[in-house]
Amino acid sequence: MNTLSHHLTDETLQDYSAGVLNAPMETLIACHLTLCPSCRQRSQLADAIGGLSLGDEDAVAMKASASDILSLDKTTAQIDTTPPPIEMQLQGVPKPLARLLPGPMTELPWKSFGPGMKQFNLGSQPRKEGAFKLLSLDPGSRMSKHTHQHRELTFIVSGSYSDELGQFKAGDIADLSADHHHRPHVDSDVPCISLIATDAPVIFDGLFGKMVQPFVGI
């Protein structure tokens, strides 16, 4: 399998471990972790730090005793936490994303937002709380130069793009913070499909970018 070149930052893995991110961000992170043993290992370390901090905590008195829990076991139904079965398996799509899709990539109700550019919205939250969507950009497409108020994660599902940080291929994740301006262009022969989540709207630099922003909605 291909080696991945772009990974999650420590800050993001630590936020993920602490459980302070929203579901869209978690989805992107889980997609990358599916394919990336080294980020998985770093993520386990972050969990171990969480565990250790738990041990440091001063205890608060519990009302229930251990015996109460054992009797609770006899009277409480099993809590089922296994994830629901997946509607359909999609080649090359990690399960955390596949769960959210009503069909294969080619059959999604994409909405065009420019020549060779279309998107499929996955989020239902208001725009000010950030975006969660798939973008499909045809070969040769360029995004306007933009930056972000807080954090933007981009997971490459297929195809590739390049920007100031290098080339991003399937499985890579771009973990960008507010101080980063970039202008991606698609350099694969096939459309570049990426999953993006932001925790605040993208800020486009140029006038054209500002004009299209309400339509792109990222």
Binding site: G19, T27, G55, E57, M62, A66, P94, H150
Partner: protein
């Protein structure tokens, strides 16, 4: 790190090491034999800390009590899924508590990696024997590494795990630029990782 120093480091806190081992044995005994005494001991050590963890994240006492009970019930029922070679008992418990808290607050489950994915070429290779040894000692080494961190780095880690705050909120709380909070997190993670590496050699 030379062998003697390594030895000193490993024997740094025998009490903590013994406690970790006891909790590990408890989980294994619950998983294998439904051992009620092992559960009593595990509960006595961890239940109040779980409750404190949840209350630290701004939860009402009554809700934290109820969730802590549920979490301990999950421990009792799922201890057989605990693999002592893969994680410290505190790590396993922490992930259960965090996930249960997310489910409760958000109304939908935390999204996690799924490695049983036949539609992908997933590299789910297990750590080698050497790395396994590293993992079983990890809790101890990690504790040492955490103790060596500068106070300002420990503080941001603590706020993040125990107050459930985003880096932005921590920055506001400490009246620092968010970049400073992030770089403290980054530095802390880096020094912990390099500490663990030097221990494994």
């Amino acid at each position: 790190m030379d062998a003697q120093l390594l030895q000193t480091a490993k024997s740094l806190d025998p009490a903590a090491q013994a406690l970790t081992q006891r909790m590990r044995d408890n989980l294994v005994a619950i998983g294998k034999h439904r051992d009620e005494n092992a559960f009593q001991d595990f509960y006595a050590h961890f239940s109040g800390r779980i409750k404190s963890f949840l209350m630290g994240k701004g939860m009402q006492e009554s809700v934290a009590e109820e969730l802590s009970q549920e979490i301990m019930l999950i421990v009792w029922r799922r201890a057989e899924s605990y693999d002592p070679d893969k994680a410290a008992p505190s790590t396993w418990l922490f992930t259960i508590a965090r996930n249960r808290r997310t489910d409760y607050l958000r109304g939908n489950s935390r999204i996690e990696v799924e490695l049983d994915d036949e539609m992908l070429e997933v590299d789910s290779s297990e750590p080698t024997q050497d790395e396994q040894v590293g993992l079983s000692q990890q809790a101890q080494v990690l504790e040492m590494a955490m103790n060596k961190l500068p106070q300002e780095q420990r503080q941001v880690l603590h706020l993040s795990y125990f107050r459930g705050q985003s880096h932005g909120a921590i920055a506001k709380w400490l009246d620092l630029p968010i970049g400073t909070v992030k770089s403290r997190i980054r530095l802390a993670m880096q020094s912990i990782r390099s500490e663990i590496k030097s221990e494994e050699i």
